[in-house]
């Protein structure tokens, strides 16, 4: 396992000088690269090193840093190794290179990220709508989208009962149970 990892790091480092690696226990290895390198590093992994399976594409919203982190997870069935390729892009100008010519199924992930995070993929050919129908608000998975406030103003809500009673105390009154000490601090 260690041998495979060192070998892989060496391969990647010679091709992509700016890539920084992070080694994890088990069959996992992380590389952080620039967004321009993404198509070439994925093609290299797929065609030369046998990482033929795209497991997942994930997006993380780092609101405080003003960045989106996009993570590609690829898997090699021969070496039994997972490789994470990470990249950070600007949150305000979220543009990514398109990789659906490398793996066709990446198209679905990219459509979802476009809809949920508002990331633009250059040259992505797909209909505008994916899961949300007639959506007019901001991309809903961004962390600065306040979903509760949006729901409050878009939908009706049933008001709660005015005599909102503490369920625990009411049950005790009816059945004359003892309330355990640890539960008392949760009472209203």
């Amino acid at each position: 396992m260690q041998e495979i990892k060192e070998n892989l790091i060496q391969h990647i480092k010679t091709q992509f000088k700016e890539a920084t690696e992070k080694v994890y226990d088990g069959n996992r290895l992380d590389f952080t690269v620039d967004k321009q390198c993404i198509p070439s590093i994925l093609t290299y992994l797929k065609d030369r090193l046998g990482y033929i399976h795209l497991s997942h594409i994930a997006c993380v919203d780092w609101l405080e840093e003003g960045k989106f982190e996009i993570i590609f997870i690829v898997w090699s069935p021969e070496e039994k190794m997972k490789v994470f390729i990470r990249t950070k892009i600007d949150r305000d100008n979220a543009v990514m290179p398109n990789i659906d010519m490398i793996w066709r199924q990446a198209n679905t992930y990219e459509r979802e990220m476009r809809e949920m995070f508002g990331i633009e993929f250059i040259g992505l050919e797909a209909p505008d709508e994916f899961l949300l129908e007639d959506w007019e608000g901001p991309p809903p998975m961004r962390r600065d989208f306040d979903t509760e406030a949006y729901a409050q103003e878009t939908f009706w809500h049933r008001p709660g009962r005015e005599d909102a009673l503490d369920v625990r105390e009411e049950i005790i009154k009816r059945s004359r149970e003892e309330i355990p000490d640890f539960a008392k601090k949760y009472s209203r």
Binding site: L132, E133, D134, W135, E136, G137, P140, F145, T147, E148, Y150, A151, T154, F155, W156, H157, R158
Partner: protein, 181 residues
């Protein structure tokens, strides 16, 4: 003769009695609650002994079971299905999501109050309601039908403008017929 008040009453009683014993449910599951329907229908709880059974199309069905949360996307289809159903028709709201949003109270694309969009005759609460609760709900509906109190469809017809206005508030792109009969 048939316009006579008393004979109409007798006709109503016979009609309601027969309607009550043949509740056909449209096989249309919206949320996670649809998973409780197979055990209700099959041998253990056997809803068919009460006359409750599945129907293949909206036009053959009497009851529309809303099993769980409704996204705005699904609501569009549900309204379309409801409008296709023929009288007599009833709606059962199933699970706490249809009552007050349940665990999706802060979701950006699920409606919280079903009875603003469709006339609900019976609510079954719980998350999820067990098959016993579902059967109790059907029992309640049968009771209402026998008493002639399950008048959701009439209410819908009388207040169609109010319902349409509410529906169009969440369905911004209305690409189906107006159903304004």
């Amino acid at each position: 003769m048939i316009n006579d008040k008393n004979s109409q009453k007798i006709v109503d009683i016979i009609q309601n009695w027969s309607r009550k014993h043949s509740i056909w449910v449209l096989a249309y599951g919206t949320g996670c609650g649809a998973i409780e329907i197979p055990p209700t229908m099959t041998s253990r709880y056997d809803a068919e002994r009460l006359g409750v059974r599945g129907a293949a199309t909206p036009r053959q069905a009497d009851v529309l079971l809303i099993t769980g949360y409704l996204t705005t996307k699904t609501l569009k289809r549900v309204i379309r299905v409801y409008e296709q159903m023929q009288d007599p028709k009833y709606v059962i709201g199933f699970g706490s999501c249809t009552i007050n949003g349940g665990m999706y109270y802060d979701s950006y694309n699920t409606i919280k109050l079903l009875d603003r969009y469709l006339p609900v005759d019976v609510y079954i609460n719980g998350c999820m309601p067990r098959p016993e609760a579902v059967l109790a709900g059907f029992g309640k509906l049968q009771k209402l039908i026998a008493e002639g109190k399950a008048t959701g469809a009439t209410k819908y017809k009388e207040n169609i403008e109010w319902y349409k206005e509410n529906q169009k508030k969440v369905i911004t792109n209305w690409v189906m017929p107006d159903y304004n009969w």
